[in-house]
Amino acid sequence: MADGKINITINGIEASVQKGSYLLQALRDNGVAVPTLCHHKDLTPSGTCRLCVVEVEQRGKKKLVTSCNFPVRGEIAVDTESERVKTHRRVLAEMYLGRWPNVPLIQEVAAICGATDKEKYRSELTDENPKACILCTHCVRACDEFVKERILDFAGRGIKRHLTMPFGEVDPHCINCTSCAYVCPTGAIEIVDDMNNPVNPQMIRDFGMKINAEMATLDKDQCRMREVGTANIVDVMDAYDLLPVHNYKFGSHPDTKNIDSKILKAKYFTQDHPDGCWKGCSMACAKAVDGFELRTGPYKGDRVVVDGPEYETSAAGANMGCFDADFIVEWNFYCDTYGIDTISFGTCMAFVMEAFEAGVITTEHTGGKELKFGATEAVMECMHEIAAGEGFGVEVGQGIRYLKEKWIRELGADADFLQDIGMEVKGLEYSEYVSKESLAQQAGYTMAVKGPQHDEAWLIFMDMVNNQIPTFEDKADALYYYPLWRTWFGLHGLCKLIWNDIVPLSNKDYEPQVAAKVPDHVEDFFRFYEGMTGEPLDEEGMLAQSARVHNLQRVMTRMLGYGTRKDDMPPFRAVGPVTAEEYESRAERYDKQLEELAGFDMKGKSTEEKMKAIREYRMDQYNRVVDAAYDRRGWTRNGVPKIERLRELGIDIPELVEIIKDDQE
């Protein structure tokens, strides 16, 4: 017997079923039909209607059980057609028929159970409405399980039991997901308001319900977005040496356990209900901390609600070497309150800390603050200064590019060193991923129109871990498709999390190259688009829509004085080890790469010589991937869209051509 299987007998025939599975599913898997009114494939079985009863014999004893919620744990003999079972079903079906004689589903199931007499149990409670509520609990369970709300439930006892909302009023916590109407088998719940006037509301509901069901059944074993939100990524990135630590020097740290999703869930997160950022979305990925007592700043001593922390915020904590969850929650609160981006601040402060530790700046420049990695109190002090427009905070608040230029100009700092460790491109700070081992991600960051944000391309696993895009052309293809696909979300004001932070089971049936795109979800988004607009969409159409905007953005960037190759060049910290400490910390990896890929003779070489060699090798690789990506996008080798590319896209209007005409090859 294979692992997890168990032998049972169904109507005298032996069958092998998964141990622990519910009997109804096991029966259906073996081709045995059992009638039911309350079962739904995406909802936890409830045994409400009791029509699915079967007779189970175990250790010589026979009993009737509701098969939908009976787990198969031992060897049993099942009879689905015994006289006892048939009588039980028929009498129940006659009662249903007497109460709701005109509901098509009741008529259908009653016929299967041999119940035809509508009069036998007819009474003053009989509801002649063909769309009557039959108390199946689909909607109640969907509200609870899909959306984690309990807005619908039953009131009244016995024959007065009926569906309602709290106090019989419309509950403001309803997120308008329409799950209840979707799972209602009789039409008792109807949608009467279609916001935004979609052309095909049903198509959109089909899309939404598919996601709701996936969230309810799959998320707990995938990304745990409902449980811990994007904080789950902290754990993953640390495990794969991708979590930025000490200004991106390293990719993991033993103290990550102090700020990971486990500690946030155990000690901080108090809210895990949908926050309503999208009508009807059941992902509920936004988390919050209630009653957090602040230790610093103008609200010191107050108990507040903190929205977060998200992955990027915790990871920025690691980047500053601040592995202290109390600090991260407090810092998160003040970033939100002051309107400061946790990514830009975290990355900028990590740069300041490295510069401080390297002696580029001292307490003389920081207003006395010892801004070493891990200096949580000094970070908070600096943050309050930014908001107040005082002291060193005024300078930090202007970002890495400003600080580099100032320190080079006024302090005579080593310009090459600051360029290497200052994690910014186009003046924007990097988001919180280590890109050193993924060439495609290095370019994904630098080539992103707004600066090094991963929302155009997150290719680290495809490239570094999976080795799915080994050639420059493969990487260039990924740097063509994914930024356009992700741009498409922005174009339509859609959230991307339900694209690949929840993945349908069917995704494992695709070849990995295809699976990486999560094709079923891409199709779902196309159907959603069609449902809203009435226009069908496919991959070619999607790419064309996005490419027009993406190229327009690049031309506008050029107009603003950026948008050429020099603006797409990374600080070396994003590409490889800048310091000997960094090289030595991953020496085995770098040595192997130098020897096997770069053909470098390692004999008798010092760390400095090896660092020089790996810098040359990696920058050469970087430039090659950028060449390939520019070619694939129809841009010049200087990174400017070719006029013929604008023509292909139908956006070669004179105003745009004028901006780029002098940049053509």
Partner: protein, 66 residues
Amino acid sequence: MIIVNNRDKVEWHEGMTVQDVLDAMGYDYALITVTVEGTLVPEDDYGTQTVPDGSNVGLFHLAHGG
């Protein structure tokens, strides 16, 4: 010896299963698709499907986040 993702080498042993390969690589990520010689392996079979010596095994992590 088996080859993972056309690049990494893992020492083979008698009776090695797909799960053993995942463990050897230290991969416990939730969204992994596995192939052995290009054929997809269902998740339920990770603990029972053996991997012959010299196999090419694909352990493909799906991206998420961002």
